[in-house]
Amino acid sequence: MFIAMECIALPDLALRVRFSSCTPKVCIVGSGPAGFYTAQHLLKVNPTHQNVHVDIYERLPVPFGLVRFGVAPDHPEVKNVINTFTQTAKHSRCRFYGNVNVGKDVSVGELKQAYHAVVLSYGAEGNRSMGVPGEGLAGVYSAKDFVGWYNGHPSCRELNPDLNCETAVILGQGNVALDVARVLLSPIDILKKTDITQPALEALVRSQIRRVLIVGRRGPVQVACTIKELREMVNLPGTKSEMVEADFDGVTEALKDLPRPRKRLTELLLKTALDTPGDKEQQRRHQASRTWGFRFFRSPSEVLADADGNKTVGIRLAVTRLEGSGEGARAVLTGEVEDVTCGLVISSIGYKSHPIDPSVPFDTRRAVIPNTMGRVKQATGLYCSGWLKTGPTGVIATTMNNSFDTARSLVEDMESEALDLSSVKTGSEVISALLEERGVKSVSFSDWEKIDSVEMSRGEASGKTRTWSRRETILLL
């Protein structure tokens, strides 16, 4: 029996040294936090007294995934983890290959032939759809696209959302929903110092949106956001909150049984919704020109169009009630509906992973790769980490633990010979040749560093952190 540990120097393991194992070569698909944390762990260990070589393939020309494109522009500290990932990328045994679309430019099968192990960490690039009529109307966006738009994602550049309406409705009450609400309502003075894209900033300057409703089908105790983000909304300058008091019936009584994180969050929510404000707060609210609020027990049933049938003018919400309580409570339709006038609908009900290659097992119901502790089921030499492994929720810390777990499984398999390390694998040599044959120009990490320094110096010139490069610019380098 063996122990999965990060530190390898234990007497037991010395017994399992093999005399003919080759330098392990591992390929990781996806360069977001999952990919980088998996790489980080693999570079630290030396199973069978060999050092592991790691190649990271990324579809976009630039690394870092959601840390670059998903973290809100006013949360730059969350992006500090990029420094850790940069150290990993520059490790002598790590190589980054950007602009390589696995599944299209090269197959998973070809990667499996070239490497001892392949780790799939490409996350969730799709989003769950509401599945309601009118979802395709102008004025309806997924939060993923909306966030991508203000964060400079190459495929969201042309989104051009119309912000000429008074009310925006966001479906979903997680941190992404709150990020969107906060960006829609933040004073421009705050936004202009962030690395929000210039077109988004200009659109927000012209925006008529003064009211944002954040809608969820369950109640206050089930809200999916966390306290830091809720506090930011509560304290957002120039805004005040408006909630429906009746939504909070029974919540105070439920407090005592809640675990600490949920309890603190619910206490803040109750305070925001129900407390009578003191004079100072009254004054602040009086001066606020923008409002936001949670709406509970509402589920989208249709997006309503104008007379021409093109533009969004409202959303029909089905009224729900809860069955059960706590985290497991379920929303059940009551049959009633409520129409809300709005010109912008943003659906923030979850990201979704896609299958990458027919040869890789995929659970279409849960939209994850079936696995046990990161080992892909019914496959050898194939692993997964990050959201692709466990579903698209969780913060940096969650993904970090998740990725370290997968790396540990991989190392165990190397030690126990469940993974065959007896033949030499050529790794990137063979893959680079294939890519060149196919006319795919990969982007190296030092290429990325050039792009990075250009973005930052351009940003500095306009008093921001960075400006965002077009895909074409990147590929010209």
């Binding site: 500090n80 940096i396 810390a397 969650t398």
Partner: protein, 193 residues
């Protein structure tokens, strides 16, 4: 990773891709008034530029590499024991003013600090032994907010990046949480060594 971070922190500077003005309210040295950097002054911000890189203050700059204590002074020694994720005890001789996260990095202990002490993550989560837990100043609301996100939160949980060593913390023991359920394949419990 810890070694790389140790190199960075020993340089006394932290390379950042973000140019946000440093938020001193999150730094415990600010509360202890032990920080010599004034980020309000544009001049001091500019002075951290080197070549083409823009470096900015972070708590890495404020830790004891530039600290005011004399390394030779026995009054300044704080004995710390880290208990790593495999249960191994790692005693460390530290100094008053040392930051628990960067101290761990200096000694190759795998305490991640993804957000670099900005109270924007929970990856430096540690358990503090009972005897010393109450000697720590109460966590700021922002630390409590991030602690709420840490898996396996306990009564004695704190964020390592917010613990600054003082003489009365001598003997403190910091345990790294076992972060995974699938740590052991067959239920084997390692003997501590």
């Amino acid at each position: 990773m810890a070694a790389a971070a140790a190199v960075r922190s020993s340089m006394g500077l932290t390379l950042r891709l973000s140019r946000a003005i440093p938020d001193c309210s999150s730094c415990p040295l600010n509360r202890l008034k032990s920080c010599g950097v004034n980020p309000q002054s544009r001049g001091s911000f500019e002075s951290f530029r080197t070549m083409n890189r823009h470096l900015q203050t972070s708590i890495g700059l404020c830790h004891s590499e530039e600290g005011s204590s004399n390394a030779e002074d026995p009054e300044d020694v704080v004995n710390v024991v880290y208990i790593d994720r495999s249960g191994q005890r790692i005693p460390v001789k530290a100094k008053v003013g040392d930051n628990v996260l960067y101290l761990a990095h200096k000694h190759g202990i795998d305490l991640e600090g993804a957000c670099e002490a900005s109270l924007a993550c929970s990856t430096c989560h540690v358990y503090v032994n009972a005897e010393h837990f109450d000697k720590l100043p109460d966590p700021a609301e922002r630390e409590d907010d991030m602690l709420d996100m840490a898996p396996m939160l306990q009564e004695n949980s704190r964020l390592g990046c917010q613990i600054i060593l003082t003489p009365e913390l001598d003997g403190i023991e910091l345990t790294l949480p076992k972060i995974t359920r699938n740590f052991y394949v067959d239920g084997h419990v390692p003997k501590p060594h």
